[in-house]
């Protein structure tokens, strides 16, 4: 059902999964990722639009078409072999079936460092 990531030989050891989701789905996604063993993630409050239209606000007769909707962006860095499972987990937990559910992007990570210990790459995740 979900598009499968193919582990190509030239893939690096790590992937950054970036997902823009509906804010109220954040808790469900977090639980799903924790269940997978993901140990950390970064969350940002963002605004955006896709196919979902905004709302009209009216202040004393002046109408404003507000195109930007509030979303939440999650970024999680994982070893490449976990990437597909993470994508599936986010997809399944963030979906509502209505327009505006969001998107997931998978990016390569060149390097990673754990600041406290100096560990690099997979050991840093």
């Amino acid at each position: 059902m979900w598009p499968r990531l193919r582990n190509r030989e030239e893939d690096g050891p790590m992937k950054m999964i970036m997902a823009v989701i509906k804010p109220f789905k954040l808790d469900d996604v977090r639980e799903a990722l924790t269940a997978l063993g993901v140990q950390g993630l970064t969350v940002t409050e963002v605004k955006g639009f896709g196919r979902q239209k905004g709302q009209t606000e009216i202040y004393r007769g002046a109408e404003y078409q507000v195109s930007f909707l509030s979303k939440v962006k999650i970024e999680v860095a994982v070893p490449s072999d976990l990437a597909e499972a993470v994508v599936e987990a986010i997809s399944r937990s963030a979906v509502t079936g209505k327009i505006g559910d969001g998107k997931i992007f998978v990016l390569d990570i060149d390097r990673a460092v754990r600041i406290r210990t100096g560990e690099t790459d997979a050991a840093a995740l």
């Binding site: 606000e57 009216i58 202040y59 004393r60 007769g61 002046a62 404003y64 507000v66």
Partner: protein
Amino acid sequence: MMIDRSAARICRPALPAAVAAFMLIAAPAFADDAPTKIDSGDTAWMLTSTALVLMMTIPGLALFYGGMVRKKNVLATLMQSFTICCLVTIVWAVAGYSLAFTNGNPYIGDLSRFMLNGLGETWDKPFTLGAGSDNASPFTIPETVYMMFQMTFAIITPALIAGAFADRMKFSAMVIFMVLWSLLVYSPIAHWVWSATGWVGALGVIDFAGGTVVHINAGIAGLMCALMLGKRVGYGHDNMAPYNVGYAVIGASLLWVGWFGFNAGSAVSSGGRAGMAMAVTQIATAAAALGWMFAEWAAKGKPSVLGAISGAVAGLVAITPASGFVLPGPSIIIGVAAGVICFWAATSLKHMMGYDDSLDAFGVHCIGGIIGALLTGVFSYGPLSATSSSPQGSPGGLHQLELQGIGVISTLVYSGLMSLVILKIVDLVIGLRVTQEEEVEGLDVVLHGERLG
């Protein structure tokens, strides 16, 4: 028979010139008012009212307006109210009070109270407004309290104008404009309507707490500012949504509660008149808020918070001139009329006419003030407007309505023209408006070097 002489100093009924001349010869027919003493109840209430009315400006109006502008201008807007409070306090103490409330001539007072000269001698004596004239009103409070109470009115009136020039006026220009406006527009009109010798009051125009002196005055001055300054950059297509409607709700609520000092305090006494004024103030305001709310619900599909509080303010404005003269039933009518008509003025009329009255100083205060001033002429209840010199009062009817019309028109004309003149002078000398770049950047950082979080 002890007639209630704590009638508001504003409701002096008509003394046509010929009768006045006769009365002067017949001398103190009105000094049958026996000397009064300072009444601690009246004074306590008036001290409280003064504080309530000051609260209406800081922080009531400051937050009401501050919440409605964009984030980059919030501090500048708060600063306007706060600074006007400080400026007018000094101007009033130095000359404004004297020009407004001493006898002088029918058009302006004299300088006998320049620098509040004389208050050192009268500080513990009951104050008589218009002592020495044929229209004296003995009060039961000290003059310091009367002067202070009136000061808070002199403060809030120019602060209301700021609603029209929000987001684009230079601070330096505003300071100069406000000082001149207070002396050249507010004091004269206050003198005309409320002093013992003022010509508008002498005609029989009644204005309990400032429909003309405060609201029509500020509203028309606001319209002049809006026209002289021009529209904000991006007006009509940029998003100018309020930064924080929550601030505006807090501000409006402080205005509502403070207004009890404004209206019930205009009784200059603590008793039946103040009680009735408070009652009709509450009832009219609630009716107006609901009027605006339902009108908006019907017209736009949703009743907004901003609309509800705006309706309440419109009701407060409209009941202001009427508060000491009407009964509760008519106050509902006044409220609903203000709520619905001001809704139309602040939404449709403004966009039809194309002026940028940013925060509806004209649409709410001028229009609301006119509605209230005129309906006072319709609904005034004789016994409430009765005084020792006019026991039958000023009952509502066609004659009183005509008189009210004169009061409305004279305020509109004088304030409108004089405000334009002052604006023009200030514009020629230092310029009224910030540059386009400064306006886009935001007044907070450009004018005051500060930023809201």
